[in-house]
Symmetry: C2
Subunit: 408 residues, 2 copies
């Protein structure tokens, strides 16, 4: 009789954002007149930019004509896009990455979720706490939650940077600028992790989905800015947040050719393994979407991205100013679209979620949804419009939350 | 130190179609003047149809405007598309499938490759031989090739239908119309497999990617035409071949809610498991692509699909007539875009591949690439243009292949 993957029963029943969506849906059904403002899920709200739209229309027209129609593309992505990425995102910033090290895909959620396919089951996997749930859930699905996964605490007293692990993990997930805490890692701190990984033969899975939001030039935007990181790291990047591709779906993963792992048949190239995985279980990102991503690298496209990022970071500034005025403690929002606030009055995350929704009609994300170390915190995002963000801050400013404080 | 998934070393080094592509590339580099006709990979050549193109342009325009912009969509797909599929592909054909049982994705290669994520490692998995390589490779990646995978022979004397398995597999992959042999399964034969699965508690993974090519009305186009199949089967369907979406990427998988599996925590809904997998490791198919797929269900879209299928099946008819005239033995091509020929003169598959490429400048697919039972056979596809297909047949007709026969 068919058996299922028993590790699934160790997962929480629902993916965090699905749970929130349902709770908000229920609230809206009960309060159809409420003007709910969503500062919860990290979804963008600005439309696709003119150069992206033009590229899409042009590519669609190509698909209408036999001579220019494109069927199956390379599973790794088209050379025109891989070359642009290598040149503009890496070589022009002094990082030596080639097109063959770049794999285009339909989203960092897919790639960070699927990367475990090529890893052995005996690895000790270090995951920060709090964390973007996909890293944790995809590893529980693969190896169970009890013996192979080590949660590395990120505490307020350390500015939510991960503690140095007590044992030696083989695989380490790092995400900077961080989701959910909005914190960044300095070059010195990231150098420490690269050195640690090199010394221990560990693999760093570095999620740089939010690199475009870094304003401080001293903060590394790629792990490959660190010397010898190409021997120990894979980097995930996305067009979702900088270019608004959350509904268009395009991202890329950099797997350096210098990256090796030991196996029973000798030293193995991780680039070849990922290539084999993608060739077998993925059929490439739509041609028209890759043409849209290419347009992001045109001079106009680059200017549009800067404008979009500036737009969202203005929201982050508004939120930070609002929370400062309110006297609430918070982190992030300076080089990141996420603001991580400490729930006022010692409220727990879900209580604060419910009260903020009921009293202010604002949706955020309960910190505890990202792990037990997130309990008592709450994530707001800068991805809504100026108008809605200003309105949300206005509502928070006028809210007398103290009536709920446990202490009273 | 990081360890890799050792099962990858049990795979052939390259995915079949990547190997063929490289061999053809080398040939073309050496013979730049050769007019190579590709009847190898199952990729379509006809452009996207007018109603699909219109839907794409309209959806792109929606993405350009803040009010109609769409970010993250439901991981399972938009309701507008799931409803259309349930209604037109199932309910109108008398099959009771609801929208909640349909999961939209970016391709059947992804879904047939990833479905193993939700299955236990102790299942005995039956895979036909010859077979579409993704089923086999994705299972080797997951459980290794030595103990859990049973190859079920499909022999010429049985019309390439699978032998009844000697032991009781827990998971059974079936693909009809078949890739690569072009054969179909009658209702009685499919009923036998459904009964077998129900009696043994097995799960059938039914790949119906080529159902649109069935001309004989007595042949089932969905496994759910068989009584009680919703208790033992998952069905994979694609827009790749009927609507030319190989470069646009859209497919869907039907996981009935009646489908259950036993687990240590009791009976589990497979629909919920797949939902959890997709919610965690996938972020939905692009909105614009789902709008394009929706257009396939308009009356014009349906007429265009019929026209495209007719176009390709005319090629299949040409190939069948040509091979008949040549006196070569072949299968398929009647309810399928694939023709499976026996290599003349007892040639092995790769020898025939090389000779057909060198002498006729035609690319096909060596049968042995689909498994050892495919040795001595060769797959041609009906997906090229009328002109190229006619030209290919003309070249084959004029080819004196007998000079190569081993017997001589």
């Amino acid at each position: 009789m068919v058996q299922i993957n028993e590790y699934y029963s160790q997962l929480k029943e629902n993916y965090l954002f699905s749970s929130i969506a349902r709770r908000v849906e229920n609230f809206c059904a009960l309060h159809p007149q409420a003007d709910v403002i969503r500062l919860g899920i990290g979804d963008v709200t600005q439309p696709l930019t003119p150069s992206v739209i033009r590229a899409l229309h042009d590519a669609v027209d190509e698909m209408a004509v036999k001579e220019s129609f494109r069927g199956y593309g390379p599973e790794q992505g088209y050379a025109f896009l891989r070359e642009k990425i290598a040149e503009i995102d890496y070589r022009q910033r002094g990082i030596n990455i080639s097109a063959g090290e770049i794999f285009i895909s339909d989203g960092s959620k897919s790639d960070t979720g699927n990367i475990g396919d090529i890893l052995g089951e005996d690895n000790i996997v270090a995951i920060t706490n709090p964390v973007y749930p996909v890293y944790l859930d995809s590893n529980i699905m693969r190896v169970g939650k009890y013996t192979k996964i080590v949660l590395v605490s990120c505490r307020e007293e350390n500015g939510f940077l991960p503690e140095r692990p007590s044992l030696h993990p083989d695989v380490i997930y790092l995400c900077y600028p961080n989701n959910p805490t909005g914190t960044v890692m300095s070059k010195t701190q990231l150098e420490w992790w690269v050195r640690y990984a090199l010394d221990n033969g560990s693999l760093i899975l570095f999620d740089a989905a939010y690199e475009a939001f870094i304003r401080d030039r001293k903060i590394p935007r790629s792990i490959f800015e660190i010397d010898r990181a190409e021997h120990c790291a894979i980097e995930f990047r996305s067009f979702s947040k900088n270019a608004g591709f959350t509904g268009l779906r395009c991202s890329y993963t950099v797997v350096p050719k210098a990256l090796k792992a030991r196996s029973s048949v000798g030293e193995i190239s991780i680039n070849s393994l990922w290539n084999r995985r993608q060739s077998t279980k993925f059929n490439g990102t739509p041609y028209i979407v890759q043409k849209a991503a290419e347009a992001v690298y045109s001079p106009e496209g680059q200017a549009e991205v800067r404008e979009t990022v500036t737009y969202y970071m203005h929201n982050a500034d508004m939120i930070r100013a609002g929370l400062t005025g309110k006297g609430w403690k918070f982190f992030g929002g300076e080089n990141s679209p996420y603001i991580w606030l400490k729930c006022p009055g010692g409220m727990d995350s879900w209580t604060f979620f419910d009260r903020l929704l009921e009293e202010c009609h604002i949706v955020g994300t309960p910190g505890v949804g990202f792990g037990i170390r997130g309990e008592g915190y709450f994530r707001l995002t800068a991805f809504n419009s100026h108008e809605k963000t200003a309105e949300a801050i206005e509502r928070i400013r006028g809210w007398d939350e103290s009536k709920f404080f446990r202490e009273q």
